[in-house]
Symmetry: C2
Amino acid sequence: MGLEMGDTHRSKPRSRRGGVRRDPAAATISRVADAAGVSRATVSRVMNGSTTVAPELAARVRAAAEALNYEPSLLARSLALGRTSTVSLIVPDLANPMFQDILRGLSTAAGAHGHRLMVAESNENAEAEQILAVEARRRSDGLVLASSRIPEPQLRALHERLAPLVLLNREIPGTAVPSLSVDYHAGIRAIVAHLLGYGHRRLVYLAGPPASTSNTDRLVTLRAEAAGSPGFHLTELDCGSTFETGHAAARAVLATGATAVVAFNDMVAFGALSGLHELGVSVPGQLSITGFDDIPFARYTTPPLTTASIPKNELGRQAWERLWALMSGAPPGYDARFQPRLLVRDTTGPVRA
Amino acid sequence: MGLEMGDTHRSKPRSRRGGVRRDPAAATISRVADAAGVSRATVSRVMNGSTTVAPELAARVRAAAEALNYEPSLLARSLALGRTSTVSLIVPDLANPMFQDILRGLSTAAGAHGHRLMVAESNENAEAEQILAVEARRRSDGLVLASSRIPEPQLRALHERLAPLVLLNREIPGTAVPSLSVDYHAGIRAIVAHLLGYGHRRLVYLAGPPASTSNTDRLVTLRAEAAGSPGFHLTELDCGSTFETGHAAARAVLATGATAVVAFNDMVAFGALSGLHELGVSVPGQLSITGFDDIPFARYTTPPLTTASIPKNELGRQAWERLWALMSGAPPGYDARFQPRLLVRDTTGPVRA
DNA sequence: CTGAAAGCGCTAACAT
DNA sequence: ATGTTAGCGCTTTCAG
């Protein structure tokens, strides 16, 4: 099949200057072209399935590629094409199932369109997140920021450099950055109404990370509700967003004398539940607990957790849709604010007489 | 500061051929060079912190870069350098906390060395995994395959194309591919001994995905133990690796008449626990249950799950070390097989009289 | 210390 | 239908 190597495409001697070739034996488009006795353009055409190549030539090219174990460099291809077919996602905490679900939704949707996903975790650190965001964006064609902890001014200053950008649980008012979020206000109202209906009047809120805007949302609504309902007493406890912080807060919760605890999210609720259990407190007998997010484990705890469910996977999926639209110059969909669905399970009950 | 634009570095007119520039206004090294009145080489030197540049020139370059909002193209840089500073991870199931922990360990370690992580999920599909693996590898400098479901022959055929490659919970005997794994045999033996000590003689194994080699390991040991202990009766139930499958298996578990269930992993154990709970079965009163992995939730279930703990984060961290060694031409560390630690919690107890 | 030029591997407009 | 060539944006050797 005449697969000998030549150098017909390199008029000047290859003097091993410039960039570093990793594997000197690696097959390149030029080698394949030489081996098949065609031009690189033809090889490129064949590799990309162009129909305008004579069957015989195409066969020769394929044989050469096969023989040389040729695999086009995606890097070079990306550079030439101006796109990487990769998008990035940044989350505050990979350990949180909530973000993992978003990750899955995004990964799946992007994958279905031939795109890969790059992930990075900011560890709840706003500084780190900014660096990561810029770098991640530079390595890919688009970026999704989930529950970004970046303060508004910085985010506002940054958003143009990050475009195409999609925000999850965050928005930049006055800009066209697509945003998908959850109506935490509504979720909290539903939780409070549920608790009030059971006769609870003394609630304690296990607050999440201060940089979390959704924590602020919850707080604002909680305070408003407390202010609006006579006899409704609210205590706020700084907590965090993890099992551990929820678990550690058990004793403090007890000390407040509250009859119901509204946890920042399911992880915290789960931790508190466990901590309370260790202290011999029965739930919901002595104390009611609510979570937020409805992570997969929530329905399997004992007792199953009352929580506000949000469409995590959908958030990821739709983030992809918005991003894809942005990347292809189409109009992104309208911003959406998903309404949480209250799932009354067994960690809440009537207040003890 | 003389930041006007010029075209001194383009002898031929830029006729907008070849590759597609995404953003025509984007700052490139050439523009910065022109603006600063220096060569691209100098800009490159400055951007990469070379000390051999005259302070005055360096300042001019920095000013120009700043003014133009210049950000070097990581893509072009990667092409020239021959490396992407990115590594990839492929897991069967992103929903499994076990893999998420590995992901975190790897992500953190890689990040600390200035590398980014790319993830893909094979959804327990061996075919998809092979495609993903090859592509992921082509986009990055190295690959980690976690609990790969790729059959041995294919994996063996593929491993050279995937190098630098590190395997987690999998190995290719006879090759030099670094492998980090868990001694499932030992873990299962510890679990069985624990159960036998409580007087259990009829066990049921909730089997994981058939393609999982670690499932095979568990099975082999379980059968050996059963064969070696008179009176020890083992039933095998095909199950899977998720909550749902564990939950769905509850009734079947009961039907076996076993007094203890050995679940493939914590997720399955958790699902079974929940399913049994719904059927009014008390654990460990009527039935004992064990998991495997010790995912974060395991200690928070009610009752807390008896399981075999494995160093998930460490697996990710060390995977990075091996990969990094491979990529830098250093000898990778020795293969390691971590010994699970049995964590006796409250889902196991004496067999009912 | 700086610049010129070759090179990384691929794509696509243009010409034949 | 195929080849030629310019170009993607950066790095690095070499010469001065």
